[in-house]
Amino acid sequence: MRARCWIVILALAAGASACTQAPVPANVFTPAHANTASAVRDFFLIRPIGEQPIPFPHKTHVEKAMLKCTETCHEAVTKGPNAGIPSVKTCMICHDSIATDRPLIMKITNDYYKKGVDLPWQRVYGFTPEVHVRFNHAPHIRSNVDCATCHGPIAQQTVAERTVDHTMGFCVDCHKARKASNDCLTCHF
C-alpha cells in the first residue's frame, strides 16, 4: 500500500506538466503508459467513454429484428477469444433494403459503405494490456454464460454502455459459483 501511495504522489507531481502537451519520449523507457496522466487514469480504472459513430440501437435489433447476438453480428464469439465487431458490410446485408429512408441508415450507406470506409466503432469493454488478462469468449459461450452476465442489459440499451465492472473479484465469484478453474494461469498467461 505504501508503495502505491508513493507512486500516486510522484505521479501527481509530474502529472500537471505532462498532460498539457503531447507525450515526449522520456529517457527512462517504460512500456506501460504514454504519460503520467494515462498512468493515473489507469490506476483509478478511469477510461474514456468512446463516442460511437452512430447511436446504434441494440434494443431494436434484438427485440424488433429478432437478431441473435452471437449469430449475426458478433459471430466470432463462439469461435475464439474476441467477439468481433461487424464491418459495415454486415449492416448492408439487411439495410440494403430495410429502412433505407432513415437518416442514419442513409449516413452509413453514403458516408461509409459507398466510400469503402468502415464505421469507427469504439471499444466499450475490454482489458488494457497492462493488466495481463487474457479473456476468451468461446468457452464462456459453450458453458452457456448469458451475454447479460458480463455485458448487463445490453439488449435493452441503445448505444452500448459499460454497466458491469470487470474486476478480478467479479470473474472469480462467477468461476467459484460455476466451479470453473480459479488457477492463476486460467486468465493470466
Binding site: R41, F44, A76, V88, D118, P120
Partner: protein, 716 residues
Amino acid sequence: MDRRSFIKLTAVTGGATAIAACSTSSPENQLIRFVPDEDLTPGIAELKNGVCPICRAGCGTTVRVMQGDAEVVRNGQAGVMTMSLAKKLEGNATHPVSQGALCPRGQASIQVTYHPDRLVEPLKRRGARGSGDYQPITWDAAIAELVSRLDTVAASGAQGLAALTRPGASSRNDLMALFLDRFGGQAPIAYELFSDDVLRRANLQSFGHEQVPTYDFANAHMVISFGADFLGAWNSPVSQMVGYAKMRGGRPGIRGALVQVEPRMSLTGASADEWVAIRPGTEGILALGLANALGAKNLGQYTPAEVEKQTGVKAARVERLAHMLAERKPAVAVIAGAPLAHTNGLFQAMAVNTLNAALGAVDAPGGLSFTPQAQAKSGASRSLRALADDILSGKGAPVQALLIDGVNPVHTTPPGWRVKDALARVPYIVSFGNFADDTSVMADLILPDHSFLESWTDARPESGTLMPIVTVAGPAMKPLHNTRATTDVLLDVAKKLKKPLPGLPDSFSAMLQASVGGDEAWATATKQGWVDVKGSGLKGSGLKGSTSPQPSALSPSFDGDPTQFPFHFLPFQSQAFLDGSTAHLPWLQEMPDPISTAMWSTWAEINPQTASRLGITDGDMIEIASAHGTIHAPALVSPGIAPDVIAMPTGQGHETFTRYASGRGSNPVKVLAPSVEPETGALAWASTRVKIARVGEPKGELIRYGTALREFEPHR
C-alpha cells in the same frame, strides 16, 4: 483524517484534475478505417505454408496468420484496414529440408513485407540515373510504357533484351527464361557473389552431376571441412545443422568428430574439435596428402613432408588427421567458400572429391550423394562480367533493355567488372525489386513486386534432402500496397505486345501446378507446402567419371605483389546479410555476429601478433588497400585468424538500400581484384592481396553486443 487517507484524497482530486486537463481521444477516431476485404475471425491464428525467399536452400516455412490492423493506401487515401496479416515465420515441420527449423535470416524475412521503405507503387525515373528521383505512376501507364519499349526492341530484330535474375531453381526463374526465349532475348543471367559454380563443375567432372551434393552428416563419424561454413550460411544451413546435431549428439555413445581447415575461424570452425589454419589456396594439397596417406593411387608425390612444405600444416598433423579419418568411418570431406574462390578453385574441389573417393564416402551412408533433379539447364548464358564487357566495348548484340529481378550486382561485383558503368550505358532498365538498392536506382522504371508472403512462390532445392522436391506456397495474406506480382506482370506484358508471345502459361499458379505434376501432386503440394516429384524425368544419382584431378591451375595465383601487399584478403559471407541482400532487415542488423559479437557494422579481423606489430588496437580504424580499391574499417583483433590474413564480412557498405543499410559500414567487394577461376569464370574473391595501415582512433564504428550503441551515447 489520518495521513494515508489524506494522501489518497489528494491523489483522487489531483488525478481528476489531471484527467480533465487532457482530453483523450482514441487514435481509431483520427484514422480512416477501410472496409475489410475478407471475413475474419479475430484472435484465432491460422497456420499457412510458405517458402523462404532468402537463399536458394528452398526451406519450407509455416506462416502464422492472424487478424490485425495494417496501414494501407486505397485509392490514394491512407488509412487502416483490418486484414489477415502474417505475424511469425517458423520452419515447416513436415518439410524434408527445414525439418521444422528455420535460420535467423529466414525468421527475419517477415520484415521484408512490413519494411517502412518498401516500394509501394510503380515508379518512373524523373531525375538523373542513380539520383533516386522517381515519380509515382499508375500500373496501367507503367505496363503501357514497358510494352511500347519492348515493342521497339522487338522491332529492331536483334537480341536486345537481357535479364538479371535471382539464383536458384524456381518457376519464377523458369518463367523469366521462357519470356526471354519467346521474345528472342538473351538467356537470363543469375550472378551470385558466393556462387558454388566451381564446386558444381568439379562434381560434373568427377561424378557426372553438375550440382552441390547433399551430405549425410547425421550418419558420419567424422567430417573434415575445407573452408565450408556449413553451420553458418553456406548452401542449405538448416538441414546441415540438423544433420550436424544428430552427428554430435544424436547417437548414444558416438560423437562424430569435426575438423575445420581454414585460415579464418568461421562459425563452423568455432564448433569444430580441431581448427587447422592452413595457407590460403593450398587446401587441395592437404586433401590430396590425406588421400595419399589413405592409400589413393597416383598421388605418391603428396607425402606429408611435401604437404607441410606447401600448406604450412605440420607433417605429423597430416599423418594424425589421416589416421583419424581411417579410424572413424564413415567420414566425409566438404569443401566450399574461400578454397573454391581462388584461381585454382577447380583443382581444390576435385582434390576433395579425390579424398572423398579414397574415404569411400561417395554415394554412401555418412557420405555425400546427389539429389535427383531435372537437368533442365536453360542454355549456356553469358556471365555477368561478359555482359558488362560487351556493353562497354559494344561487342555482340547490343542490350537495348534490361530486366532486373530483385538482385543487386552493383553491390556484389568487384570494381574491375565495371557493372555500374555498363548499366549506365543500357538505354532502358526495368527493376522488379521490393526495395531501392544500389542497382535498382539505375532503373528507368520500377515495377515493385508483391512480397513473398503476398504471392505464389516456389523453390526446387538443389541440396539438403535426397528427395527431389518442389517447395510451393500460395499467398499467406493480401497485398498491403499497390504492388503486383512480377510473374503476373510478365504474363500481362507478353499478351499486350504487338506480337504476343506464344506458349506462355495462362497464369503463374497454373505454371506451378504443371511443374509439380498432376492434380494429386498439386493437392499434396498445397496441403503440406512441398511435394515429392520423383519419377518425372529426373536423373538418378548414379555416378560416373573419374575423380583424378586434372584441371590446369594447381597452385593459386594472387593479385598484388607480396612485398607491396603483404596480406591475403578474405571476405567472408556474413551470418546476417549473406552477400548483402538482407542488410535492409533491422532484426539482422541487430543480430550479433556469432564470432565477433559485432552488429550494425563491419569490421576487419586481424591477428593479435600482426596487430601489435603494426600498432593497431581493437576498434582502431584501418585502411585496407589493394591494387583495385581502398576501404576503411574498424580493426577487430581476433586470435582466430592466421597472421598473414585480413578478413572482412560482406553485406554492409550499401550506397542505397533503405534507411537501415544505406551508408553503413564498408563493402569488402570494392577492393577485390577481378580475377576469376579460369574454367568456370566464377569470381575468385579470395585471391586478392592487400596492405593495411592504421588511420585513426576508434570512432564508434565497431558496435559490439553489450556495449553502448553509438546512436544512444549522449555526447555524440
